[in-house]
């Protein structure tokens, strides 16, 4: 039975602490790729240090993705922290045989953001703020950091037809359903369905996703 007798092990960071660039750098290098999976397995056993490492590694993409969909910083922060706490709470449900840790977390994050967007009250709020323009073509490029990921995504989005790329961006980054995407782009439902799928498959092959 795992117990945390030593306060040193279990003390949560209630005091604001410096993330420390050197430390973050090290964490990133150490825990790239597969290591995230083993960290999540430790999180499922209640390991706080592992959760801290997972937090540091995924807080940027979680917050970035939620923010991209919701736009509103306050709402995004609220959802992002719920997502990260949900990772702690449900870590035992992560199954490495069924996908990567990053995909597992990002699926939770995207779902939560989309749920918020589609709940009635916030959709009214959001339409006021966001509807004036669909996601612009430069949206991916406008974000800085994790330059390599971003570069690769941009490059691969560039290999799609404009309709494929636009459909995927509106659906994923915009949080729209495919009928909404069809309406925004003025094309038939069936067309959007196939463009999203074909485009994603092409993205998968272009980025050499191995699942």
């Amino acid at each position: 039975m795992v117990r945390f007798e030593s306060p040193g092990v279990n003390t949560p960071s209630t005091t604001p602490r410096q993330p420390g660039p050197a430390r973050a750098e090290q964490t990133r290098a150490e825990h790239s790729g597969r290591d995230l999976e083993s960290l999540l397995i430790r999180v499922a056993r209640g390991d706080h240090a592992a959760f801290e490492a997972v937090y540091d590694r995924l807080t940027g993409p979680v917050y970035g993705l939620v923010r991209k969909v919701l736009r509103d910083p306050a709402q995004s922060e609220e959802i992002a922290q719920e997502v990260l706490l949900e990772v702690w709470r449900t870590a035992s449900r992560f199954d490495a045989a069924r996908g990567s840790a990053a995909a597992w977390v990002m699926t939770i994050a995207h779902r939560r953001a989309v749920d918020r967007v589609r709940s009635e009250t916030s959709s009214a709020r959001r339409e006021l703020k966001v509807l004036p323009g669909p996601v612009s073509g430069d949206d991916v490029a406008e974000l800085v950091e994790t330059a390599l990921d971003r570069q690769r995504v941009r490059r691969c989005l560039g290999t799609l037809t404009p309709l494929q790329a636009e459909s995927i961006k509106l659906a994923y980054y915009g949080g729209y359903t495919y009928p909404q995407v069809a309406e925004l782009l003025g094309v038939a439902l069936g067309t959007v369905k196939t463009r999203i799928r074909d485009g994603l498959i092409r993205m998968r092959d272009c980025m050499e996703v191995t699942w």
């Binding site: 117990r3 945390f4 306060p7 279990n10 949560p12 209630t14 604001p16 602490r17 993330p19 499922a44 706080h48 959760f51 801290e52 937090y55 807080t59 940027g60 979680v62 917050y63 993705l65 991209k68 922060e77 922290q81 719920e82 990260l84 706490l85 949900e86 702690w88 709470r89 870590a91 035992s92 449900r93 996908g99 990567s100 995909a103 990002m106 699926t107 995207h110 779902r111 991916v140 974000l143 950091e145 994790t146 990921d149 995504v153 941009r154 994923y172 980054y173 359903t177 495919y178 369905k193 999203i196 799928r197 074909d198 994603l200 498959i201 993205m203 998968r204 980025m207 996703v209 191995t210």
Partner: protein
């Protein structure tokens, strides 16, 4: 039939991007269970979507880190799916009372985050005098100690007057941290007072501070023993030595371990 299946298969992409309307999503999930190639494809497309997600990384708010890391120890984790043997469930039986308290619902998670936020806020609040600083620091440290206690558990209860009361209890530390949300402001100059009630009588744990945006910042109750109860009453300004009104909430301190 096969045309219909084909139609379904086209939805893998939209499903992986959470772009299906609810009804279609439900239908597709049913289909997924019987369509191995679809499930495979969804898996790969979800990984692809995750790459799109990773590319959006931006710096998250720094305060978020302290809040989330403080909330984690207060949040009970789910057991592994399906493989929890009864024996293990029995082993946890001794803490059955606790699991009721500490398994957070969605609302629970929000409450824990609110509590963690209140503590973090307290820790970083600007104070004006050295004396205030010392007091605030020692109160914050005491509260942080309860939140960090390995046996800390959270209990929430609705108040009779509306709103709810949240307590983080540590039997080991003999302390409890109490916050409230949505309690109506007491009439006139009256205020809420927190009591530790034992078989031998009630002892004041202090007045609840005026609420900010519906919530009160945490108040620490010390020398709390299992079997005691935490109560909140409405009292005249400045508080009283003994409760004079019916409590708006009475929260038992569970006897465990």
């Amino acid at each position: 039939m096969s045309a219909q299946r084909h139609e379904m298969h086209l939805l893998t992409g939209s499903y992986a991007l959470d772009a299906l309307p609810d009804a279609e999503r439900a239908a597709f999930r049913k289909h997924l269970a019987q369509c191995a190639p679809c499930a495979d494809e969804v898996r790969g497309l979800r990984e692809t979507a995750a790459r799109l997600a990773m590319a959006t990384a931006i710096e998250s708010p720094t305060e978020m880190r302290a809040r989330v890391l403080a909330a984690a120890p207060l949040t009970r984790q789910l057991p592994p799916p399906g493989r929890v043997p009864l024996a293990l469930a029995g082993q946890r039986g001794g803490r059955a009372a606790r699991s009721r308290l500490s398994r957070p619902s969605q609302a629970g998670i929000a409450a824990i985050l609110a509590l963690a936020a209140a503590v973090v806020f307290l820790l970083i609040t600007q104070v004006t005098t050295r004396q205030e600083l010392r007091q605030s620091q020692s109160a914050s440290q005491a509260i942080a100690a309860v939140l960090a206690a390995p046996d800390a558990r959270i209990e929430m209860m609705p108040a009779t007057v509306g709103g709810s009361v949240t307590a983080v209890l540590s039997v080991r530390e003999h302390e409890a941290v109490v916050t409230t949300a949505g309690l109506p402001a007491p009439a006139g100059s009256r205020s809420y007072q927190l009591w530790v009630m034992s078989p031998t009588g009630a002892r004041s744990a202090g007045l609840l501070p005026a609420s900010h945006a519906g919530s009160t910042s945490p108040v620490l109750a010390v020398a709390v023993e299992p079997g005691d109860r935490l109560g909140i009453t409405v009292e005249p300004a400045g508080g009283t030595a003994q409760p004079t009104t019916t409590p708006v909430v009475v929260m038992p301190v569970p006897v465990v371990e």
